[in-house]
């Protein structure tokens, strides 16, 4: 599987994402600087986490207007797989590739700990190696992860099964108790209506090796590889 990772000033998770992809695919991704206007022909484009442009104006707002974004939009619309993690998710909502928006966490704190999520839809190219309803554990590290969509948009997202992961308690209860940041309907990750673009706040790239405390995140990359193989 050929892949590319977009890098903006302030991106800081690109090497973690590269390690995860290399571990499961054996091929190192190409790093693409935000000033480039062409992304190489690849099967997967990752928009990684970090604090692009210091979160100035709004998280992801300035990165979403970078030169590289025009080609990202073109490739996403042609069906190439795009994965946005954390700041990457914020950037993808700012480009309009994903619906809704990510606002300040309800508790106002920067959150840096593990969360549990339930696999709501395992029929996507990002989640096909998870069991339906599987409870998984990923780390989060964000200040603006509170997913919001207006009622009409939310209904469309839910009706179409675009929600892939929901925050839950360790027992799998999808409740406010298991919701770290106030996201509407406990949404932690969702796809676009075509299913080729996904964004999520938690970090799959940081749970890829037992040495790091678990491998729940690795399954996402294995899902993606399985599809491309």
């Amino acid at each position: 599987m050929k892949s590319a990772i977009l890098v903006f000033p302030g991106t800081n998770r690109e090497r973690d994402a590269a390690d995860a992809i290399k571990l499961v695919s054996g091929k190192a991704p190409t790093m693409v600087w935000h000033q480039e206007t062409d992304i190489p022909d690849v099967d997967l484009i990752v928009v990684p986490g970090g604090f692009s442009y210091g979160d100035y104006l709004r998280a992801g707002a300035i990165a979403a207007r970078s030169p590289v974004i025009a080609d990202l939009m073109k490739k996403a619309k042609s069906g190439i797989t795009v994965l946005g993690i954390c700041n990457g998710f914020q950037i993808l909502t700012e480009t309009g590739l994903l619906p809704g928006s990510l606002a300040r966490n309800t508790g106002l704190d920067f959150l840096c700990h593990d969360v549990h999520m339930k696999v709501d839809n395992n029929q996507t190219r990002f989640s096909n190696k998870y069991a339906p309803g599987q409870i998984i554990r990923f780390p989060i590290a964000h200040h603006d992860g509170n997913y919001f969509a207006d009622p009409d948009t939310l209904k469309k997202i839910e009706d179409a099964g675009q929600v892939v992961f929901r925050y839950c308690t360790p027992n799998g209860d999808i409740s406010m108790q298991g919701n770290p940041n106030g996201s509407i309907n406990n949404i932690a990750g969702l796809t676009n209506s075509d299913g080729n673009v996904m964004g999520l706040m938690p970090h799959p790239e940081n749970l890829i090796d037992p040495l790091l405390g678990g491998t729940d995140g690795r399954i996402m990359f294995e899902s993606l590889i399985g599809r491309a193989a």
């Binding site: 104006l57 709004r58 707002a61 300035i62 207007r65 909502t93 700012e94 619906p99 809704g100 928006s101 606002a103 300040r104 966490n105 309800t106 508790g107 106002l108 509170n146 919001f148 969509a149 207006d150 106030g182």
Partner: protein, 83 residues
């Protein structure tokens, strides 16, 4: 000409910062506060002198970058430069 843009969260969008400010005001014994919403102000110095053209230009800026119209509203005030 100067443009002053007021960006506010749409009704129905949760504003945790506004809530925290409201709580803090309460703890300072300011009573009777029904709600607090926090927004932002952006000021831009424009070369454009025509008000209609300036408003259109700034409105484009808001739609393309300055506001996230999924969750935010914007209001543009134009202030002519002092002669």
């Amino acid at each position: 000409m100067k443009a002053r843009i007021l960006i506010t969260l749409k009704t129905g969008v949760l504003d945790p910062q506004g809530k925290a400010i409201q709580k803090a005001l309460g703890s300072l014994n300011f009573d009777g506060i029904d709600g607090v919403r926090q927004g932002k102000v952006i000021e831009i110095d424009l070369a454009e002198t025509n008000e209609v053209a300036a408003r259109k230009q700034v409105s484009d800026m808001c739609d393309k970058l300055l506001a996230n119209t999924v969750i935010e509203n914007y209001d543009i005030e134009l202030i002519p430069s002092a002669a």
